[in-house]
Amino acid sequence: MRDVVIIGVGQTRVEEHWGKSLRHMAHDAVMAAMKDAGIETADALYVGNMLSGELGGQEHVGALVADFIGLRGIEAMKVEAACASGAAALRVGMFAVASGIHDVVMVCGVEKMTDAVGDEVTSGLATAADQEYEVSQGISFVGLNALLMRRYMHQFDVKHEHFAGFAVNAHKNGANNPNAMFQSPIKAETYLRASMIADPINLMDSSPVCDGAACVILAPADGYRARAKAHILASAVATDSLAIHDRRDPLTLDAVALSSQKAYAQARITPTDVDLFEVHDAFTIMAALSLEAAGFAPRGRGVCMAVDNEIGIEGRLPISTMGGLKSRGHPVGATGVYQIVEVVAQLTGQAGKNQVQGARIGMAQNIGGSGATVITHILGGV
């Protein structure tokens, strides 16, 4: 297997792109990444996307995007793993380069959510859950996370206000990211006063519905070392039951633990070596549970990292350094690629006011559903 490096990155701002369709957003991100990498073509394109069929009636977006960006003829396909589709596409791109099948590969995560109305988006997101035994009972994706949060608060004697730090940190970091959906900081009081969606989850616990596209260009280390921005030190996937009620223990994200441990072993590091962590904070409860299962906090204590402010840029473990899913936004199938673009920014000293000083090792974790697919990538600086 060959070592794989990232030689270019590109992204569009995450927002409600009413003036742009999925193909235009993908085009913008891919062109930015190709320019960044100094390339004019590639061997293959893998598109991470979850909802193009459900919300836009458009599947087959691999060929669609390849044609639209002027590369008709190249290998292209869509990769889907619910909200982890972006990282799944990256992993497929890695297979192609590491195996020697291809040299230069483009990975684009893209999602168009705001063409649909609220009901359709709610149903679309729920396709990540078990249709026959969760969704058919009347639960939504937010509702599933609310069940986890309520139990967490009960079992570990935690109050809702203790989660405020996750939202405050995300918005503080998003304020300095020109590509973030929300670019203004919030106060803890804003979090406490936010309107309830499915109690205890309120608007400030959840990531927004939005559009976006991001792209990274992969190549083998041999031959591209001089142009490398970051090395992919680890890429690991683990799975769990789709339904929360089928889990060994609903409050332990087993697939996060397994995926993280595999990644640490591949990169030959321990959690203490990680300089920053792009966590899948689709909901504040997911941030807490992920920090625990990934080995950064003991069980039931993940939320304390927010309370004690250990997650800021200067903290013990900076998370969501460019705003995370909460503030940068969560265009679901694109999120995993945004995370990688942001880790590369940190490792190349391009993170501006949010730069984690001396960052050498960055981890990104993209979660599909409420923890059924977990994909961890660890990147190293050059």
């Binding site: 709610t122 009347g138 969606i197």
Partner: protein
């Protein structure tokens, strides 16, 4: 949910039709081809008592399509007496009276309706356990 899909899962939704693993003796709901506990393939049919307790709950203010007539309503994770856990709506109870650990029992109710002319889906919900008169 399509009519054949509804029909295929009717026994699970109307009567919590479940399995016992012939190898590890654990209860399995919903039925599967492979035991999630020990990966053995042979199971026997069984019925569950329908009794359990609330493991967690949430009040849904934004109901998904087909469930609007009940909003706001309370969804729960119910830990069944025999071991499996299910996701289900609570009924015959006010949201503010729901507590984690509360004993509940299964009832068959209307779950959702797909529009004015669409099929009506029935299935399990859970209500507070009715105490026998002393």
């Amino acid at each position: 949910m399509s009519i054949p899909r509804n029909w295929r899962t009717r026994q699970q939704r109307y009567s919590l039709k479940a399995e016992v693993c012939n190898t590890c003796n654990k209860h399995i709901f919903p039925p599967r081809d492979v035991c999630p506990h020990c990966a053995a393939e042979k199971q026997s049919w069984t019925n569950l008592s329908g009794q359990g307790e609330v493991f967690s709950y949430t009040t849904m203010y934004n109901a998904p399509a087909g469930f609007e007539e009940y909003a706001p309503y309370t969804m729960a994770l119910v830990k069944l007496a025999e071991g499996p856990m299910v996701t289900a709506q609570l009924t015959d109870v006010d949201a503010q009276d729901v507590k984690i650990g509360m004993p509940v029992e299964m009832v068959t109710r209307k779950l959702s309706q797909e529009g004015e002319e669409g099929q009506i889906l029935y299935g399990y919900k859970f209500r507070p356990m009715l105490r026998e008169a002393a």
